[in-house]
């Protein structure tokens, strides 16, 4: 299975800047992390990939067939989990899943089985009869994940899937996604770098409507070797680093001084400097800022 993006651009109105600027990429089964700041074009790209938004130019093909032409057949293979949003308050969790099953074209018998499984997967089995308006943020997030899985999709597109989940649920969902990704294309857009760091086959970093960098997490981190440092500085020295425009990845108290993690080409000239192992957050900071 191959989902190919060919030179996709999107301009919302004439004269406006390109929200997606000539993206070409080929997805094969596995988990992909999509990172980028707000306004980078992630949501626009996902809307195009879910066939909700036509691109201004370019095309998306699934195994060679254009998704616009595939229409319902493409959407039958698609599972989409949007960002947290308003749901149908008067539906119970179970009713909502039955509604989504109807929309996904499942038969009654199929729906019965997959809804049971989905509710157990997202740990909402006991809360299935509660109305959605009584669900917490995390529960709403889980019911959205559940609906995305109902049709056993080949392509799973998830926007901030772990936002609002407690650490235990976050790990549980992350592991589940990793498990099911063997024969699926899973695209996860997130701001939480750790969500995709360990399960992604590849990471795509977007900014200004373009994919500015892509590669395996290991490769991206490898590229950052020698560019991440920690330095113990005074308050004044820290201020000087900020004013210099140094990319600061974190600050912690170290006695009466500050331990500052910086991402830079050259070691900082201030404080007691030591080189440290980079992580994906450093990559993100380096590429995006």
């Amino acid at each position: 299975m191959e989902l190919r993006l060919e030179n996709i651009t999107k301009r919302y109105s004439k004269g406006a800047a390109l929200a997606v600027d000539g993206i070409s990429y080929t997805f094969t089964p596995g988990v992909y992390g999509l990172l980028g700041p707000n306004g980078a074009g992630k949501s626009t790209l996902m809307n195009i990939m879910t066939d909700n938004l036509p691109p201004t130019s370019g095309k998306i093909t699934l195994d060679g067939a254009e998704i616009g032409k595939l229409g319902p057949k493409y959407r039958a293979a698609l599972g989409y989990m949007p960002q947290q949003q308003g749901l149908y308050d008067e539906f119970t969790g179970e009713q909502f899943l039955w509604y989504m099953a109807a929309l996904k074209g499942l038969s009654r018998a199929e729906a019965k089985t997959v809804i049971e499984n989905a509710l157990q997967t997202v740990n909402l089995d006991r809360d299935r009869h509660k109305k959605l308006k009584g669900y917490s943020g995390g529960m709403k997030q889980r019911i959205l994940i559940a609906q995305a899985l109902l049709n056993d999709p080949h392509i799973l597109i998830m926007d901030e899937p772990t936002a609002g989940l407690d650490p235990k649920e976050r790990i549980r969902i992350r592991s589940f996604i990793s498990e099911i990704s063997k024969d699926k294309i899973v695209l996860i857009a997130t701001h939480v770098v750790s969500d995709v760091e360990f399960i992604s086959k590849e990471i795509l970093v977007m900014n200004g409507g373009k994919i500015i960098r892509d590669g395996t997490p290991q490769a991206l981190i490898q590229d950052m070797e020698g560019k991440v440092f920690e330095t113990i500085v005074t308050e004044q020295e820290h201020q000087a680093l900020v004013e210099d425009g140094t990319k600061i990845a974190g600050i912690a108290l170290a006695g009466d001084k500050l331990c500052v993690r910086v991402v830079t080409d050259t070691p900082p000239a201030l404080g007691e400097v030591s080189q440290v192992r980079p992580n994906l957050e450093d990559v993100y900071l380096w590429l995006v800022e």
Binding site: D51, E94, Q95, W98, G134
Partner: protein, 694 residues
């Protein structure tokens, strides 16, 4: 800005609240229209103020006389009795005081008598003037408006307290410096302000309606000029009485608003609050209706919002409450108790808001609902998109209430046309009587019945002549002339119309078979009654627009469209399901709106004469040879198409605007504009078709 100002701003931005408020005022006026049809309209229809008319009682016409001369005589009698009532008050009090029952000067009974005399003493010589008073009486009798006020207050309570609580916003607000007492007081202020505004608008609308349809007459007359104010001990004019009533109703609304506020701060579940407040109010209503005015518990009846809502009860009925053996005027007691209730409810409500955890928690009631949902979950084990779309609209958006109102409206329309028929002339009533007997297919039996009736009429004439020719006494002759003559005058002309109609039909080619005795005037009146048809279309269409405006727009509001559209059936099939739902709802509205017309057709015997050609009408107004059945079919088809146009138009608007409010305003505006045009040209679908068939 003060917190109160922000509470008002938040309320102002609740478009659903204000749209519902407008609909409630409209509903209140519709209830006026149904329960208090204007005298002026009636007199315009009859084209004279004093009229005698015939009503069908058990299928037989009975003469009913309505005469304003009688009303004037009644009023004169009232004026005289009022003078006697006031002037002889002192004598009556003296006589009663001398009895043992009232003689004890330290008793409530004695003091009550003295106070009563004192209260009425200043009314000696009060000038009473005759004038139109039907509007005042109608406004007094129309107490249904309290239900609409309660509905608005319940909605207001929801938006002031429950909506924010449901979103956990009260936790955020209560975490601020002024988030306890000041915020609670501001919310109470918002509720009282909303109640004042709504009652003011509603009452002015109702007063306006009665002013137009009934008339209030000279408002500078003393209130006692109208007999319902006979016992009033206030020196006020009729205009002031109306104004005081509006103020009193605002006061009642304040008490109710404060009560709901208290309930809203104490009870955290909406459903439980509705049950709790509903129970209290039902109890109050029961007390107002069931307690005897003379009972020792009468204070519970008089000091009651339902009792106080009625103008005559609030201002005119004279009662003193026994307070430690001292009589206190009912009006004063009402004011004091009302103020005390508001203060107590407000104080308790503010304290409750500040002290209680303002987060929605599971209650026993919600536990019960959960149990019900668990046991009815199977209903939703379906993959029918139509079912889910209907659920989203009717339950999710609570538009099932509109369907309930639709049913109530249909019932009221059917009831309104199912009552006693009224006729201005005896001939009309007699004609209806004969149609009830022999209307429909012409048969040998019906013709034989008609001949027998003609023979009966001839016998009556003969009896009358014989009575006049006989040597009976003058009194006997008068009696016979009266009884037989009135029988003849009641039936003869109507019978002659039927005979003429039969004669006309006999002149047409063919025998009796295939010919029908049609109630021509009734059917013609029904067909040319453009007002009823257009009114039904207007109300039905507005209901349809309101219902349909939510079908496609609810998902936009919840930002669900992209998720739905990313599914296999989330586009064309979903749209088809929504279209089918729109059609089903429109069909329901159409059927309900036309029920009363079907009842009228049935009453006028139209279903028994479907085969009759229009050109066979004895009036000769129609040239077309189509049958009544075909005409009715075409009429109903075109009416159905007009509702279909409303349905499709509303669907197009929802697709274009993606906003329920805009759709409602635009769609409603177009429907009203079409109605106004039809009204201006005195036409509708039926009249337009008949115009072609002339």
């Amino acid at each position: 800005m003060r917190i109160y100002g922000y509470e008002l701003i938040k309320l102002r931005k609740r478009s659903t609240l204000w749209i519902t408020a407008m609909l409630l005022v409209l509903g209140c006026l519709v209830l006026c229209l149904v329960t208090m049809p204007g005298d002026k309209l009636a007199s315009l229809q009859q084209e004279e103020e004093d009229f005698a008319h015939y009503e069908m009682v058990d299928g037989v016409p009975v003469l009913v006389i309505q005469n304003s001369e009688q009303q004037i005589q009644d009023w004169e009698a009232y004026r005289e009795s009022y003078g006697i009532f006031i002037n002889e008050m002192a004598d009556r009090v003296d006589k009663m005081s001398s009895t043992s029952l009232f003689g004890n000067q330290n008793s409530f009974a004695y003091r009550n008598l003295q106070k009563t005399q004192l209260d009425y003493a200043s009314f000696a010589g009060t000038e009473l003037r005759y004038g139109a008073e039907s509007g005042v009486r109608a406004y007094n009798d129309y107490t249904g408006s309290i239900l609409f006020t309660l509905a608005f207050l319940a909605l207001l309570m929801y938006y002031v307290l429950y909506d924010e609580r449901g979103q956990n916003l009260l936790l955020l607000l209560k975490g601020t410096k002024r988030g306890h007492g000041a915020l609670a007081a501001a919310k109470l202020g918002a509720m009282l302000s909303g109640a004042t505004l709504y009652v003011l608008v509603q009452e002015l609308a109702v007063l306006g309606y009665f002013a137009i349809t009934h008339g209030f007459g000279d408002l500078t007359r003393t209130a006692q000029s109208v007999s319902i104010f006979r016992n009033c001990v206030l020196h006020i004019t009729l205009g002031q009485a109306l104004a005081l009533t509006v103020l009193a109703r605002i006061g009642v609304a304040w008490v109710l608003a404060a009560l709901l506020y208290l309930v809203g701060t104490v009870v955290r579940s909406e459903a439980a609050a509705v049950v709790c407040a509903g129970g209290i109010l039902a109890g109050e209503f029961f007390l107002s209706a069931a307690i005897n005015p003379g009972s020792s518990l009468c204070a519970l009846k008089f000091l009651n919002p339902f009792y106080s809502w009625k103008m005559s009860c609030a201002l005119a009925e004279y009662q003193n409450i026994n307070v430690f053996s001292f009589p206190v005027g009912k009006g004063i007691a009402m004011l004091v108790l009302g103020a005390a209730c508001i203060a107590a409810f407000a104080g308790a409500g503010i304290a409750s808001f500040s002290l209680r955890y303002q987060v929605k928690t599971a209650s026993r009631f919600s536990g019960l609902l959960l149990w019900i949902r668990q046991h009815t979950a199977g209903l939703f084990h379906t993959v029918s998109l139509l079912w889910f779309e209907a659920y989203k609209l009717l339950i999710g958006q609570k538009k099932i209430l509109v369907l309930v109102l639709l049913a109530a409206w249909g019932y009221s329309e059917v009831t309104a046309v199912s009552g006693v028929q009224s006729f201005a002339m005896p001939a009309d009533a007699a004609y209806q009587y004969y149609m009830n007997q022999i209307g429909g297919p012409m048969t040998d039996e019906s013709m034989a019945w008609l001949e027998a009736e003609q023979q009966r009429m001839a016998d009556l004439h003969r009896q009358l002549q014989e009575a006049q020719a006989s040597g009976a006494s003058e009194v006997e002759q008068m009696y016979l002339s009266y009884t037989i003559g009135s029988e003849i005058s009641l039936y003869e002309e109507g019978l002659q119309r039927v005979v003429n109609q039969v004669e006309w039909l006999k002149t047409l080619p063919g025998g009796l078979s295939g010919k029908y005795l049609v109630n021509e005037p009734a059917l013609t009146n029904l067909w040319f009654d453009t007002q009823t048809d257009t009114r039904l279309w207007l109300i039905g269409s507005l209901i349809a627009v309101f219902l349909l405006s939510g079908i496609r727009t609810g998902d936009e509001k919840r930002r669900m469209t992209t998720l739905l559209a990313s599914t296999q059936n989330g586009r064309e099939r979903l749209d088809r399901a929504r279209h089918r739902l729109a059609l089903l709802l429109t069909l329901a509205v159409f059927v309900v709106s036309q029920l009363c017309i079907l009842v009228l057709y049935s009453r006028d015997g139209a279903f028994g004469v479907l085969g009759q050609k229009l050109s066979w009408f004895s009036t000769g107004v129609f040239q077309a040879g189509i049958s009544i059945g075909l005409l009715m079919l075409v009429i109903f088809l075109l009416k159905g198409l007009s509702f279909l146009a409303v349905c499709l138009g509303t669907e197009a608007l929802t697709r274009t605007t993606k906003n329920a409010t805009v759709t409602l305003l635009l769609g409603g505006g177009i429907v009203i504009a079409v109605y106004m045009v039809a009204l201006a040209f005195h036409t509708d679908i039926t009249a337009a078709i008949l115009g072609l068939l002339y």
